[in-house]
Symmetry: C2
Subunit: 271 residues, 2 copies
């Protein structure tokens, strides 16, 4: 029997579900294997070394399923570990930073772009590097929003509290004359409505999640590896920690019954 | 001396300049070598065999410059010759059909997409194939607009006559409940204002030119071949026919002094 090779998607928790959802929408033939490291989330405040170690462990786990591609659907992990993982495995590895950077370069009319992300992502300077690598004259304003991802992991993304946190966190970013804002954390599309309300209708929000789905499509096409046939794929979701909350958020976000397999980590328990 | 490898872009005439312009904007470090086959334009009404032969001849010419990538910036030539050229050369070959299809899949909310192009492109069914390959449930309406490319080649893209032709040609497409319209010919962005006016503000126009520039960026990044350094690239433009009109349109569209080298074809003169 022919077994369709999956796209393996990993994240610190539920954030990568925004990438998974877009892959399901744009590429409904593709099978997804998802891993959310909910036991050790958030990655944002951790050191690059620790994030790299965690990412490597998850990749080792996922590679057992013989996927055709690894997607690091976490900006913090992409900033810390993308180049390392690329050297480690022989299949394509896609991060979420370059797709967002490319989309912003394509969308901006004024050349002034904002980026929000975790402390890890913003401190790494990875977006500035990616944007300037493409276009050296682009003007970038970046700011860490450390409260956003934990809110989403708790399932609080449409509460009045969430709105207050978003409003407070974006006070400074709002002052800059940008025309695009990169949501440089895959958790942030959960808060898109509040972010758009604060930034106003003239600022285009760039979801690194949406853009990554499109780049997955480009790379699979270039390699002749897009899924074929009319088989309906059965996706698999794993998480390392609180499976009840993961399940709840996954169902709410993906709008379908998710089969979840909680797994127990034998290594590096969360600090 | 290190010589930067260029991106080679080819088209039946001036249409590919819409791709070149976007590459210059999104990737200002990249050097471009452009070839417009103005002597044998338009390609739209020609047979796939003839278009394949012409494309192959231009690729043979451009390959002498040792480019790092070939971009077939003509939808008709992409539909007819992409797979053939991919087998022929060892560098990446990018067409303009899949990038447009991917962008439409990403942008549509209703799953109903329109495509306009030359007779050659529409008859090939290449957009329908590309769209359905990604997402089998997408609904596609397509229509040939044979009068558009010749208008643009004559430099008539902002005249009242052009507006009338656009209005007349899109009468049927306007009736379909689509939310995206793919400009499936690289000449059409020249007519974007008129097309948007006819289709109304609710239909998002997808320029295969803009999207191709972004895919060039993705593929060069994945291959580690993006241009580096701060050298300002000197682009080169060649055309096989009326260089005066080509020069005029290129200057108008690219807004800069273009160094043009008209070349004489030794093969297959236009029928």
């Amino acid at each position: 029997m022919f077994v369709q090779q999956a796209i393996a998607i990993l994240d610190s928790g539920v954030g990568g579900l925004t990438v998974a959802k877009e892959v399901m929408r744009q590429l409904p033939r593709e099978k997804i294997i998802y891993f959310g490291d909910t036991a050790r989330s958030p990655y944002g405040p951790r050191s690059p070394e620790e994030v790299t170690l965690f990412t490597e462990q998850i990749v080792d786990y996922l590679i057992q399923f013989n996927p055709k591609m690894i997607v690091i659907a976490c900006n913090t992990a992409t900033a810390a570990a993308l180049e390392h993982i690329k050297k480690k495995v022989s299949i394509p590895v896609i991060g979420v930073i370059h797709p967002g950077a490319r989309a912003a370069i394509s969308a901006t009319k004024t050349g002034r772009v904002g980026v929000i992300g975790t402390v890890g992502t913003i401190n790494s300077g990875a977006y500035i590097t990616a944007l300037k690598e493409l276009n050296p004259v682009i003007d970038v304003e970046s700011e860490a929003c450390p409260d956003f991802a934990p809110l989403v992991e708790k399932g609080q993304f449409e509460t009045p509290e969430a709105q207050l946190v978003v409003e407070h966190s974006l006070q400074e970013m709002k002052q800059h004359p940008i025309d695009c804002l990169i949501l440089g954390c895959t958790h942030y599309p959960f808060l898109k409505r509040s972010i758009q309300a604060v930034m106003g209708p003239k600022v285009k929000l760039i979801s690194s999640a949406d853009e990554t789905a499109r780049e997955i499509s480009t790379v699979l096409y270039q390699k002749g590896q897009l899924a074929r046939g009319n088989e309906i794929p059965i996706h698999q979701f794993f998480c390392s920690g609180d499976s009840e909350m993961f399940n709840k958020i996954a169902r709410q976000w993906l709008g379908e019954q998710i089969e979840l397999t909680p797994i127990v980590w034998q290594v590096s328990t969360p600090s």
